[in-house]
Subunit: 311 residues, 2 copies
Amino acid sequence: MKITVLSGGVGGARFLRGLRAAAPDAQITAIVNVGDDMWLSGLRIAPDLDSIMYTLAGENDEQRGWGRVGESERVSAELRAYGVGWPWFTLGDLDIGTHLARTSMLRDGLTLAEATDRITSRWQLGVHLIPASNDEVETHVVTESGEMHFQEWWTRHRAALPALSFVHHGLADASPAPGVLEAISDADVVLIAPSNPVVSIGPILAFESIHAAVSSAARVVGVSPIIAGAVVRGMADACLTAIGVATDADAVALHYGPTLLDGWLVDETDAALAPTIEAAGITARAVPLWMRDPASSAQVAGDALRLAQDL
Amino acid sequence: MKITVLSGGVGGARFLRGLRAAAPDAQITAIVNVGDDMWLSGLRIAPDLDSIMYTLAGENDEQRGWGRVGESERVSAELRAYGVGWPWFTLGDLDIGTHLARTSMLRDGLTLAEATDRITSRWQLGVHLIPASNDEVETHVVTESGEMHFQEWWTRHRAALPALSFVHHGLADASPAPGVLEAISDADVVLIAPSNPVVSIGPILAFESIHAAVSSAARVVGVSPIIAGAVVRGMADACLTAIGVATDADAVALHYGPTLLDGWLVDETDAALAPTIEAAGITARAVPLWMRDPASSAQVAGDALRLAQDL
């Protein structure tokens, strides 16, 4: 079975780890958001690709929830002493190793997708990661204090500055990476991970050709990142509010819409929202959605697959 | 007093540290070789600029003789695991901090000289470092096994592959960094550090305009990097042999020549070579030249200054 997943970073990583366990014989491809990517301190940083890679490799820091386990910050302390980078954005030494490897390969002329293949080949991930695009399409946030890179808004301002809108810089001249559209059209099932709908999944679907491919894909099932009117992790509510979508499992389903979605998983506590979603033409199912550990993540991913098969 | 020094890396660094102690009230400028610079693992590396900076900042590893004290190599281990970089060339984490700072500034559009100013401003060096050029002029070595970057020949092959010649890639399109020619022509004394004449001082003097400026400078005194027919450190003999110069204090003086040099310091054990050098029109003086520690380095630098003043 071929399964293709649209995914952001940490939440997507947990979902993919669960999916790998739930469908060990499937050929899994993840189309990964690159909107958070940026140049910082001379490095090309790709947070979502790396979060997924570290998690699938078992190298992620479970306690902290992000980055590499056993991390140190000697290089960042040097950068700070030289006045380079963002003082509120610390890169770990091991993580810098990944960024340097990527930056070096890009400098040598590899595309981001080629560099990702080379970098991920260090481990047996069991999931093929493809960046949504090889081009630099960075998400910026428009606020009353001006426009800034998503990471500045998210990490420095903790998403507390009201966002007026999100802009995908470079989108007009960008195209999906080779293999992205094929991975969607060839898939038996397309899954939308419980990632931030606005700044993780949004930048992927912002490519018209990707949106069209998902719309005409075989079976498309999404997993709600909202449980009981609250975000499971992160600050997706600030993003949803900015685009006029309520922080509710049904509102997010309707935001993606029936053109895109065939099925939608909500948490069991949101079972009452199912009729609204079904009325819009999307098959809804209520199951436990909390990904507390690998086992519960596998359960969620398995339920998403079962819904797809039952469609 | 204005003193300008042509300098390579480690040997030049010790000499400059000694000069700073010997002439605490002087305005010292170092024109630093960039021929060893290179791109590696996505980083712009400038070994000579960094060796000097670390030594003048008191951050160098005295035991090892190069690099930062208290160094670790976590990032390099990651790069190796990703198959990036040269397996025989390990970069320390603290050192990578410097390279990243430089690379970041270059990416932001600063010249190498501007980046060097910003980077060195972290410490009170007491010496103004100017790269010989803002352009990428890299020293390559031609051997029977092909051409390679100087660092590959020097570090990987330990200078054991016979060098047929040295090539300054990019020299034709390069120019000295702003301030280099002025620092030479405005100086009361120009000193040539006891650095490798071929691959440290050679790439600086390869700029015709720099060579001309030194030739017409007020007083130019060089310090022999050769003592008793042997190199003090490094493998300069392999370089000298390649260009047909004997590994002797007098041969190196004649290699620079009387057009360039007004005075030349040889070690006391090489006092017998003074007449040959003087016969060529270069004032020679024999003094202890071993830079064993900061005190002996200051003695050497002081002797070079005294020779210049006595000319």
